[in-house]
Symmetry: C2
Subunit: 345 residues, 2 copies
């Protein structure tokens, strides 16, 4: 295959490529209610909707086994998929796991991965119902598909936000990215001098956010309890800046985010400071927080305003206003998406 | 990771590994009617059952791009998954496709793969509803998950065969394997002398069987029309010898296969003869035929006996009789499974 006159894949970016590859495909099945373009597809198989989402994780691209414990990797591979079902306001029910391994892996190593997979299954009451196991020429590949259920009228898409809706995010931001930077730093130190012991004390939370993220199914249940149906929802995988732009773009709106409303833990601030990384940039663009980012009607504000783990960080605007960040000093700047792009890594 | 005292993955084989990794997992969801262990999982999401199956294809392990046209590869990646739904007697409805690519691939190359994917979608009226697109450090990886539907009482498992049931297979056997051998031969010739043109005349059928297999959804519909509900069913991916043993083992029965009943086309015979490969071995162990192998009650024999594309090749026995092949000369020998094992390649 020569590259003469051909388009390099990198020139499109991940979203551009997906659009190019799937943009012209029109579903034909009556059971396909929603295909490509949200956190999960929605299928009508009877009284309950079926939600489906899938992820492909490649060693050296998505994870680095020099510092990634195999058990955590198995857990995370499941968790990030469950997060996609949560982002549709659904209940994760089943997963399939396909795994390809090179000969460097022993059975014991693979069983460690599966311990993590089953741990996540148990924590979220999800069944492993199938998969494929094969060899790879190099490294480890994990593909997870998740199925979830939801009542048709409670599924939340990315495209339902309305002007003046409040933008909310659960939990805190930037910690997973800080954890990643710390792991990368310690790896570099270890490479330079294998006698050095890693300095990870007091960083448990940041490391856990990177290595063992939790899908916010608790929030899906909480929203239901509080009788809040978000108008739009997505999980924070690429970073709030990129992810809110998906909601704004698909809802044909603009948005304003307030820097001083971004929920960032003190330990995240402190460690990012030592790493000379701007905490706001990490919170907006670090990604892999796997929190829920959603919009609600202002009438629902009273129901969430006293909840510690839900933060209003901005609001949706007329599309002509674009995407903006109001800084702590009150300056208005464009909200740029520098989200992690798997194809550019 | 050192391998001291650790178990090499290769020592278990693919099925042993799957059993080891999933054998202790008990589903907890009421909607999980059948998990690991058949061609697809069966999930109860309301009035219709949801069938799910998944496959992971790795360049250099499952396909060789030196002779595999990208469009055919996309088609086959979908077709083999649809075949799993057919093997449950279901209707394929949706697929997700995840794809990882190294930088050697251009956009045009990826679009070729998707042309094949959409061609299969169109032929079988299936929707692509999601996926993941990412980079790989080396080569091409395709992961396909398929969802299908079925009425609960029409799903056919591997474990329902009864003693004296007839063993049937659709289509013909061994051609896909013959096609593979021809492609490997021409690759070797080309490597030795790049000026040589491949000798592929008259081999269209064999090559097509290898490069562009078709799931037998037509047979699923035919069986329904004829009001035949197979007692057990599987698709022929590893080879009839291996696949009938799955049915026999899971139904706790033995089986007898007659060599002279194996449906092998003349062109398959001829080419395998030139390649010095025993046609019976190719038919039993070549694999990748993607035909349907199923058992029926003898009372249903009259309904299929005149159909050109359904062949009775043996019958199920008491488990104490084991697995046997009756040769053309009448000799009885053990039916050995030498099916393609992805982990041993």
């Amino acid at each position: 295959m020569t590259n003469q006159n051909l388009t390099p894949l990198f020139s499109l970016g991940e979203f551009g490529l997906i659009e190019r590859l799937t943009g012209n495909h029109t579903p034909v099945r009556p059971s396909t209610l929603k295909g490509v373009g949200d956190d999960a597809a929605m299928l009508d198989y009877g009284s309950n909707m079926v939600l489906v989402s899938t992820d492909l994780l490649i060693e050296g691209v998505h994870f680095d086994l020099t510092y990634y414990p195999l058990k955590h990797l198995g857990y995370k591979a499941v968790a990030v998929n469950l997060s996609d079902i949560c982002a549709m306001n659904g209940t994760p029910e089943q997963i399939t796991v396909s795994i390809a391994l090179s000969s460097k892996f022993s059975l014991e190593a693979v069983e460690e991965i599966y311990k993590g997979i089953y741990h996540a299954c148990q924590n979220y009451q999800v069944d492993l119902v199938g998969g494929d196991t094969t060899s790879s020429q190099i490294g480890l590949i994990i593909s997870v598909t998740v199925l979830g259920s939801a009542q048709k009228n409670e599924v939340v898409y990315r495209n339902g936000a309305k002007e003046n809706d409040l933008i909310c995010v659960t939990g805190d931001l930037g910690a997973a990215y800080a954890g990643l930077l710390i792991l990368e730093r310690e790896k570099a130190v270890f490479k330079a001098d294998p006698q050095m012991q890693p300095e990870l004390e007091g960083m448990d939370y940041l490391l856990q956010r990177q290595l063992k993220p939790e899908p916010r199914y608790d929030m899906v249940k909480l929203l239901k309890e509080k009788e809040i149906l978000p108008t739009a929802m997505i999980d924070v995988s690429d970073g709030v800046a990129s992810d809110i732009r998906h909601i704004a773009n698909q809802s044909n709106l603009g948005c304003v985010i307030y820097e001083d409303k971004l929920p960032i833990f003190q330990t995240t601030y402190d460690q990012l400071g030592l790493l000379k990384i701007d905490p706001t940039t990490a919170a907006l663009n670090g990604g892999e927080d796997y929190e829920l980012l959603f919009t609600i009607n202002q009438n629902d504000y009273d129901k969430i305003k006293d909840h510690n783990d839900i933060h209003v960080i901005g609001y949706m605007t007329d599309p002509s206003e674009g995407y903006h960040l109001i800084s702590k000093s009150g300056t208005k700047a464009e909200l740029k998406a520098q989200g992690w792009d798997a194809l550019k890594k």
